[in-house]
């Protein structure tokens, strides 16, 4: 299996659109560079602007297998790279009760459980390796990751060094809960994803929610854009706009009205305080604004 190649940024942008992902010129450019230069890409941005989605879309468009490593505090080599299959090893020792079991036999590839990083390095297929929310993993893991990303090889002491046959496309995402190491940043291309403009958000909604009435898509997007200007604890992302539009379309509505917004606002705002604040103060104004925007 081979991955498609893209001659120009326009080609890639069109390909992503076919894969239902609307990338602006900037994002398409850096994704193109990540492919061409074989460098990891670090995507940062507020929650819900489509960082993870970008990696998934890349996997669809290439096409490549998406291997995802979700980072969390305490993530270690056993969960990110490999682990030995202890129960099989024990069984094997028991089964060979009479004979002796050599160490090489016990620590061979067939007893190895491959975790995302090793999987991505070892496989022959084209791979998009998504390292999600790297800022959640701790420093020690980041240092280890840096090593993997510079040589694309992993050493298992008992087996030896495994070198990537082809470099995976690596996409890292971060929510900036902490600063990443400079060394890691130096190794990667950087891109900041902003909330989309109104026009863009409408396009995204129409692309992701087929059959949504145009007017409704426009009003919903304008309403969410208005919410982002408010002072909320957790401003809604594009993902929330899509969820909301899906909910609204499923209810068969063609236009926003106060009752409808009231009853579905929970799919946009996930914090109780935010919901309260919007219901108490801003709802009518935002609705009016959204209606005006929709013409």
């Amino acid at each position: 299996m081979t991955a498609r190649t893209f001659a120009t940024i326009d080609d890639l942008q069109a390909g992503l659109l076919d894969a239902s992902y609307l990338a602006d010129r900037g994002l398409a450019s850096v994704l193109f560079l990540a492919l061409k230069l074989e460098k990891p890409l670090l995507l940062e941005g507020e929650a819900g602007v489509g960082k993870t989605e970008a990696a998934k879309a890349m996997a669809r468009v290439l096409p490549a297998r998406l291997i995802r490593l979700q980072c969390y505090e305490g993530l270690d080599v056993a969960h990110a790279v490999y682990e030995w299959n202890y129960s099989r090893q024990l069984l094997h020792i028991r089964a060979a009760q009479e004979g002796t079991v050599s160490e090489e036999e016990l620590f061979g590839p067939e007893f190895l459980i491959r975790r995302p990083l090793l999987e991505a390095i070892e496989t022959d297929e084209p791979v998009v390796l998504l390292i999600d929310e790297i800022d959640r993993a701790d420093d020690e893991f980041e240092a280890f990751l840096l090593e993997v990303l510079s040589d694309f090889q992993i050493t298992v002491p008992e087996i030896g060094t495994i070198q990537a046959k082809r470099r995976p496309v690596v996409i890292l995402t971060s929510n900036r809960t902490r600063e990443l190491h400079d060394a890691l940043k130096r190794r990667a291309l950087f891109h900041w994803i902003d909330h989309p403009s109104l026009e863009r958000e409408v396009e995204i909604v129409r692309l992701r929610v087929p059959g949504v009435p145009e007017r409704l898509a426009l009003q919903a997007a304008a309403f969410v854009q208005g919410l982002r200007r408010l002072d909320l604890e957790k401003p809604p992302g594009v993902a929330e706009t899509i969820d909301w539009a899906q909910a609204l379309a499923a209810l068969g509505s063609h236009e926003l009205d106060p009752d409808l917004v009231e009853s579905t606002l929970g799919s946009v705002l996930k914090h109780h305080e935010d919901l309260q604040a919007v219901r108490d103060a801003a709802l009518a104004d935002l609705l009016e604004e959204a209606r005006v925007a929709a013409g």
């Binding site: 940024i9 450019s29 230069l37 202890y86 079991v101 400079d182 130096r186 891109h191």
Partner: protein, 378 residues
């Protein structure tokens, strides 16, 4: 594509411009940028822009600088020259910090602390920072560094090898069992490591706190030495992040850098608004979650409507933080009562309320921080 040699020159000079503006652009970056340009259409301005941006920028804060430099260099738009650091405010405190930085400032006296005896040190321990001479303060500084060496800890999810651990270390156990023909005779265990808890310090640098800012920041600087995960902010009328300024190992230089990075050093106070900025910019990025938050301020909110805002923001902070500690130098005075509207509004959301006016009270702060084991029960 034939490489136009002019491009190399442009990119190298552009890199130099960015370096002057404070971005870290080494030769490797330049090379990366050039190989990126090899892949795109050089006649398209936006392609050149995105390629260089992805290679030269590493954090969001640098985007604006990059954009302005790009406009100036490639689009020949006249822009104002780069001014990253605001002009240095030569405030009274800063001058004093400068003066204190000179090691010979106490050289005129021939009395060593040892000659003066232990009781002198004991007097210094309880003397209000505000009443100290600069000579006395110099003697206290070293002591401040000593008391801040420990930090509250929490259990990490990461496991370390431990002989009395709770979880079986299968990898080691299997390996050791080989010698016994597969019988796990010697079982190996792992235990959750204990790692320092995040510590966030918000220090009021307004005029009314002038005498106490220096010792408090020295304390924060010393705590920083205890490892990662310490964030420091200064606030007066607005919030400034001090973490980077305090990174220098020399405490005097760190304080100078800090004073320089704060535009409103010794100005007024807007505690509520500053806390709101903190909650919006940093709390949202989960800095507060699970952290011990120390606020050092006298609670004098200058704005009429400030107390209400302060209360809301304190509630927000307390919901996310592990423990909230408020240090108020005024509390050191026997007759003090929290009458200031700001202080009264904040107190319901504070877990520990401590003075911070002398060395003994900073010692107490150090002890409290170290002893914090359970949420809201410090």
């Amino acid at each position: 594509m034939p490489r136009v040699s002019g491009v190399v020159g442009h990119v190298v000079t552009f890199g130099r411009v960015l370096r002057q503006a404070g971005l870290e652009i080494g030769p490797n970056r330049i090379a990366d940028g050039l190989s990126g340009l090899d892949q795109v259409d050089l006649t398209r301005q936006d392609d050149v822009y995105w390629t260089l941006r992805a290679n030269f920028v590493t954090r969001r804060e640098e985007l604006e600088i990059f954009d302005r430099a790009f406009q100036a260099w490639f689009l020949r738009t006249p822009v104002s020259p780069f001014e990253l650091s605001p002009p240095t405010p030569q405030s009274a405190v800063l001058r004093r910090i400068h003066a204190a930085g000179r090691p010979d400032s106490a050289a005129g006296t021939d009395e060593s602390p040892a000659a003066r005896g232990w009781s002198y040190e004991e007097i210094l321990r309880t003397k209000d920072f505000g009443a100290m001479t600069s000579d006395e303060f110099d003697r206290v500084r070293a002591l401040i560094a000593d008391i801040a060496a420990e930090r509250p800890r929490r259990r990490s999810r990461r496991l370390r090898r431990h002989h009395r651990g709770r979880e079986l270390d299968l990898r080691r156990t299997i390996r050791e069992s080989l010698g016994a023909g597969g019988d796990p005779v010697h079982r190996q265990y792992r235990l959750r490591a204990r790692v320092p808890r995040k510590l966030v310090v918000l220090c009021d640098v307004s005029g009314s706190m002038e005498a106490y800012v220096r010792p408090l920041l020295l304390f924060v600087h010393a705590v920083r030495g205890s490892g990662k995960g310490v964030e420091a902010f200064a606030f007066g009328t607005r919030l400034t992040r001090l973490t980077r300024a305090l990174e220098t190992s020399d405490p005097d230089r760190a304080l100078q850098d800090a004073a320089r990075s704060v535009a409103d050093w010794c100005g007024g106070t807007r505690i509520g608004a500053s806390l709101k900025t903190y909650n919006d910019d940093w709390g949202r990025r989960a800095l507060t979650r699970g952290a011990v938050v120390v606020i050092a301020s006298d609670g004098w909110e200058r704005e009429e409507s400030g107390a209400r805002l302060l209360e809301d923001q304190m509630a927000r902070l307390a919901r996310q933080a592990y423990t909230v500690v408020w240090v108020n130098p005024l509390k050191g005075h026997p007759a003090y009562e929290p009458l200031a509207a700001g202080m009264r509004a904040a107190l319901p959301h504070v877990d520990r309320f401590l003075p911070g006016h002398n060395l003994a009270s900073l010692e107490r702060l150090g002890e409290v921080l170290m002893g914090i084991e359970r949420r809201h029960a410090a």
